[in-house]
C-alpha cells in the first residue's frame, strides 16, 4: 500500500518542517518583542512604522513575500538557496503575528495594575519584569500557541519556493508513484501530529502558569 521508502522520506520532511517552524517561532518571537516595543514607542514615527510593517505583512500572502525574497536574494547576490530565504520570510511573517499578539496582551493589562506599579515607584525594568511580563505571558499564551500552529502550517507554503520539507517531499513521492491518497493522507497525519502536539503542549503550559483566581481575569 505505502510505496517503499516513502514513510522515511516523509518523516525526514516532517523533521525539516518542524525545524523551519522552530526557527521561525524563535526568530519571530525575538522580532516581535522588538516590534511590540516599537508599537508602544513614544515617537509617533516609530509607531507608524510598526503599523506599516504589520499592515504590509498581514495584507500580502505569505507566498508572495516568499517569492519576492526568493527572487530578490540572487539579485542581492546572496547565494544562499531557498532555505535562508524561506526561514527569513517565515520569521518576517510570524514576527508580525506575534507582535500583534503581544501588543494585544499589553493592552489587556488592567489599568489598576499600571497605576499601582507606578504608585509603588517601580523602575521601568522592574515594572516590566514583575508586572508586564508575567501578565502578558499568561494573557497571550493561547493566541501565541495558535500562531505557532499556524507557523507549522505556513511552512508548507515554502515548498513552492523549492524548500524541501514535508509538503515538497509528499509532492515528489506523488509524482513518482501516483499514490495520491496514501501519501497526502500520511503527510496530513504528520502535520496533524505536529500541530495538535503543539496545541496540547500549549494547554499544558497554560495550566502550569495559571495563577489561582487571577489568570482568567481580564480587563
Amino acid at each position: 500500500m505505502i510505496p517503499p521508502g516513502s514513510l522515511a522520506l516523509l518523516a525526514q520532511g516532517a523533521a525539516v518542517s518542524l525545524l523551519l517552524a522552530a526557527a521561525a517561532i524563535v526568530g519571530g518571537t525575538v522580532l516581535a518583542i522588538v516590534l511590540a516595543a516599537a508599537a508602544f514607542s513614544r515617537i509617533a514615527a516609530v509607531r507608524a512604522l510598526y503599523r506599516v510593517y504589520v499592515y504590509i505583512v498581514r495584507g500580502t500572502p505569505l507566498l508572495v513575500l516568499a517569492l519576492l525574497l526568493f527572487y530578490a536574494m540572487p539579485a542581492l547576490d546572496l547565494r544562499t538557496g531557498p532555505y535562508i530565504a524561506g526561514t527569513l520570510v517565515l520569521i518576517i511573517y510570524t514576527g508580525a503575528l506575534f507582535a500583534e499578539v503581544f501588543r494585544g496582551g499589553v493592552l489587556s493589562i488592567p489599568r489598576p495594575q499600571w497605576e499601582s506599579a507606578r504608585s509603588l515607584g517601580l523602575p521601568p525594568v522592574a515594572m516590566f519584569r514583575k508586572i508586564v511580563a508575567p501578565l502578558v505571558t499568561r494573557y497571550t499564551l493561547p493566541p501565541y500557541v495558535n500562531v505557532c500552529v499556524m507557523t507549522v502550517k505556513a511552512s508548507s507554503v515554502l515548498s513552492i519556493i523549492s524548500v524541501w520539507e514535508l509538503t515538497l517531499a509528499a509532492r515528489e513521492i506523488i509524482e513518482r508513484t501516483f499514490a495520491v491518497f496514501t501519501i497526502l493522507g500520511l503527510a496530513a497525519a504528520f502535520y496533524f501530529v505536529m500541530c495538535f502536539g503543539i496545541d496540547r503542549l500549549g494547554r499544558r503550559v497554560e495550566r502550569r502558569l495559571a495563577l489561582r483566581g487571577f489568570a482568567g481575569e481580564r480587563a
Binding site: 500580502t60 500572502p61 508572495v64 513575500l65 517569492l67 495520491v180 496530513a188 502535520y191
Partner: protein
C-alpha cells in the same frame, strides 16, 4: 527599469490575474460561508455523533495546511473520473478548509443568542429547521460579520497558493512575468500592492456591512 515605466508596459497583464483572484476569492468565500452554515446545522441538530463528526472535521482541517487539500483534490479527482478544471478544484479546497473555520466562528456566535429566543421560537410553533433559518442563522451571521471578514481575508490571501496548481491568478501572473522579463522586484511589488488593495477593500466592506446591520 523605473517603476512607472514597468507599470505602463506590463500593467495591463495584471488584469487577468486580478480578475481570477477576485473571482475565485468571491465564489470560494460564498461557498465557505454556506459550508460553514451547513456544518453548524449538522453540529446543532444531528445529535452527539453529528457534533463529534463536525468536531473531527474541524480539527483535521485546523491542523493541516491548506496546500494538502488543494493537491488532494487537484491530483486525485482526475483519478476517480472527475476531471474538473483547476479553478473548481482549488476553490473547493479553499471552501472545505475555510468552511471548517467559519463553522467555529458561527458556533461562537450561537452562544450570544439569548436562550429565551429558543423558547419563544418553540412557543410560536417553529420547527427546528424554521428556528435555525429564521432565528439562529440571521443573528449568527450578523454577530459574526467581523470574524467572517477576517476569515475572508485569509481565504483571499490563500488564493495565492492556487498558483501551485497552475491557475493564472495574481501570483502566477507575477511568476510568469518574472520568468519573461527577469524583473522580480517590479513584478512582485505590483502584485503585493494589488493584494494590499484587495485585502483593505475587503476589510472596509465588512466594516461597512457590520455598521449597517448592527442596530437591527
Amino acid at each position: 527599469m523605473s517603476f512607472a515605466r514597468w507599470v505602463s508596459i506590463y500593467g495591463s497583464t495584471y488584469w487577468t490575474g486580478l480578475a481570477w483572484t477576485a473571482f475565485i476569492a468571491l465564489w470560494a468565500s460564498f461557498g465557505a460561508v454556506v459550508w460553514g452554515c451547513v456544518l453548524l446545522l449538522i453540529r446543532l441538530s444531528a445529535g452527539r455523533w453529528g457534533a463529534r463528526g463536525v468536531d473531527a472535521y474541524v480539527q483535521l482541517f485546523r491542523n493541516t495546511p491548506v496546500l494538502l487539500p488543494i493537491y488532494l483534490i487537484y491530483f486525485a479527482f482526475p483519478m476517480i473520473g472527475l476531471p474538473w478544471p483547476a479553478v473548481v478544484c482549488g476553490g473547493l479546497a479553499l471552501i472545505l478548509q475555510n468552511g471548517a473555520y467559519i463553522s467555529e466562528v458561527l458556533r461562537g456566535s450561537v452562544n450570544a443568542i439569548d436562550r429565551v429566543q429558543f423558547d419563544a421560537a418553540r412557543s410560536l410553533g417553529l420547527a427546528p429547521w424554521g428556528t435555525f433559518r429564521k432565528v439562529v442563522l440571521p443573528q449568527v451571521l450578523v454577530y459574526s460579520l467581523p470574524a467572517l471578514g477576517n476569515q475572508v481575508v485569509l481565504l483571499l490571501k490563500d488564493t495565492s497558493l492556487l498558483s501551485a496548481i497552475s491557475i493564472t491568478e495574481l501570483t502566477m501572473q507575477a511568476k510568469l512575468l518574472t520568468e519573461q522579463t527577469g524583473a522580480a522586484y517590479e513584478a512582485f511589488i505590483v502584485v503585493a500592492l494589488l493584494y494590499l488593495v484587495l485585502v483593505s477593500s475587503t476589510e472596509v466592506l465588512f466594516r461597512v456591512a457590520h455598521h449597517a446591520v448592527r442596530w437591527r
